[in-house]
Amino acid sequence: MMRFAYHAAALRRSVLVLAMVLAFGVMKLPGERALFVQHRQLHFRGVEFNLDLREQLGQLGFIAALSGFRSIVADVLFIQAHVAWERTEWSRVLLLFRQVTTLQPRAILFWDMAAWHMAWNASVAAMNDRTQPRLALRVKAQREYFALGKDFLERGIKNNPEKPQLYETLARLYKEKYKDHASASEFFAKAAALPGAPGYEKRFAAYELSYCEGREREAYQRLRQLYDAGENERLPTLITRLKFLEQKLNIAQDQRIPDEGR
């Protein structure tokens, strides 16, 4: 009888503890949710733990990422990607950078490096690939690597819309790889509009616009505005482009900028 009473009391106490834990769970829920929402607004917790990530990372990496060590896993994979790059194993570089950027989508550096490896390094390697005798296929491979670099940058911007660095890299990609000056100008301008952007972004946007057929007037106005902003902006490239546009647009002599040395 005593034994039964003892067990009943223990059971009552266990049920009571469980009820208290659940009540505490209900109490903590609004606080947890509020923090979760704030994290999302600040673009924290950009990683979704799903089967795609599991397949990409492998079991061990996935467990490590689950236990709150995703940035360390990302670093290890980044170092592996660096080694793969030194060995010019481009497919592996691509695979590893996909994993790295999935795990650390807020690290600008990883998106930037991924795009640089694809659009600048792998694309050149593809063009110089001696095992591929057909030029058309080499060009095709090169264009594919450009597209991969562009894709990394676009996804990087989507994850970090407030940082100017990736807009600038995308502008450089358009300028150097696609020779698309209009898009380059657009992304330099987007970078310039963001807080923390270097002062040259605005100039670069105007330079790129000056190469666009049909947009010379707009480019001239922007360059002139920069020129009038003061001595600091009157750099050699700006003066050269401005003079070129003055000539092209037949700007009146009295409105032109003075020649250097005069």
Binding site: V17, K28, R33, H39, L42, R45, G68
Partner: protein, 300 residues
């Protein structure tokens, strides 16, 4: 009034001095443990070795150094919190110390609070030692990179040199690292309180450690389960109830992983830091109260 009655009237329901005595004893006991030194030395070695890990560009190097060091701090403080707390009550029961203490007019609440405070002090000391090591390593690397930059750019204009040095400094130490370290400590405090709660009904410390390892993993997934549950996806009632249980029973440990974003340069708003800290303190307090409640009902 007899002496006995006077002693009873002098006895207070809660005494800081008694809690302090239990705390200092617990701390002394824990600092004598080999496992504490092994964990601390491993953490310090890992933090120290991060200096040699990746000599890439300085941004990459600093990011990896911070990732590894803060990751090491996070894992070792969590491990220490679990391992050190799991043995407290079972060890006292085995050594029969608990009977000696509780035979005196020491309420069980004071015993639990004293024990936990001892662990929290140990965690604070470990966090401080690891932080000092981490900051020293970061400072040494920062100075080396600054000197290297100055050497490489000696012929460049002053403005460019200043820009480069500013870039190095901003990549190395940012002020948000400090709230990140505080949050790592609070996460360890939470785990210590939760371990104490589990150990009040566990029979062995191995059981406590195993349960805590599971809680640690589930805690990092709790947010996913909670959001899935609250978004009311069309799942069956079994899944729905299971997700609700996970969301209500386990703490959201992912909330305390701010360092992942801090190392990539994200700024932590004061409001977010304060809310996270309050949540951590709230969890710790509640788990301590629950531990006390279970401990009061324990047959000793």
């Amino acid at each position: 009034m007899s002496n006995e009655t006077a002693a009873i009237t002098r006895h207070r329901a809660f005494s800081v001095a008694r809690v302090f005595a239990i705390t200092t004893n617990t701390l002394t006991e824990l600092t004598r443990l080999k496992v504490f030194y092994v964990l601390l030395i491993f953490a310090l070695l890992l933090i120290g070795s991060s200096i040699f890990m990746a000599r890439l560009t300085f941004q990459q190097e600093f990011q990896i150094l911070k990732d590894v060091s803060l990751g090491a701090m996070s894992i070792f403080t969590s491990l220490l919190a679990i391992v050190a707390t799991a043995r407290l009550i079972p060890q006292d029961l085995e050594d029969r110390t608990v009977y000696t203490i509780l035979a005196k007019p020491v309420p069980r609440f004071e015993y639990i609070v004293g024990k936990l405070t001892g662990v929290l002090l140990l965690l604070a000391i470990s966090t401080l030692v690891m932080s000092a090591m981490f900051l020293a390593v970061l400072y040494i690397r920062e100075q080396a990179v600054l000197h290297e930059t100055l050497r490489q750019m000696s012929a460049a204009p002053r403005e460019q040199i200043d820009d480069a040095l500013r870039a190095v400094r901003s990549s190395a130490l940012n002020i948000d690292i400090f709230p990140g370290i505080v949050i790592i400590y609070l996460k360890a405090c939470l785990l210590a309180a939760l371990t104490l709660f589990v150990s009040t009904f566990a029979t062995t410390n191995i059981f406590t450690i195993v349960v805590m390892v599971f809680i640690y993993f589930i805690g990092h997934l709790q947010a996913t389960a909670r959001e899935y549950w609250l978004q009311e996806h069309s799942t069956g009632w079994i899944t729905h109830s299971f997700l609700a249980l996970v969301a209500l029973i386990f703490p959201d440990l992912q909330t305390f992983n701010l360092v992942d974003d801090i190392v990539v340069g994200a700024a932590i708003p004061l409001g977010l830091f304060a809310k996270t800290a309050v949540l951590g303190i709230f969890y710790t307090t509640i788990y301590t109260l629950l531990a006390t409640f279970v401990f009061y009902g324990k047959e000793l």
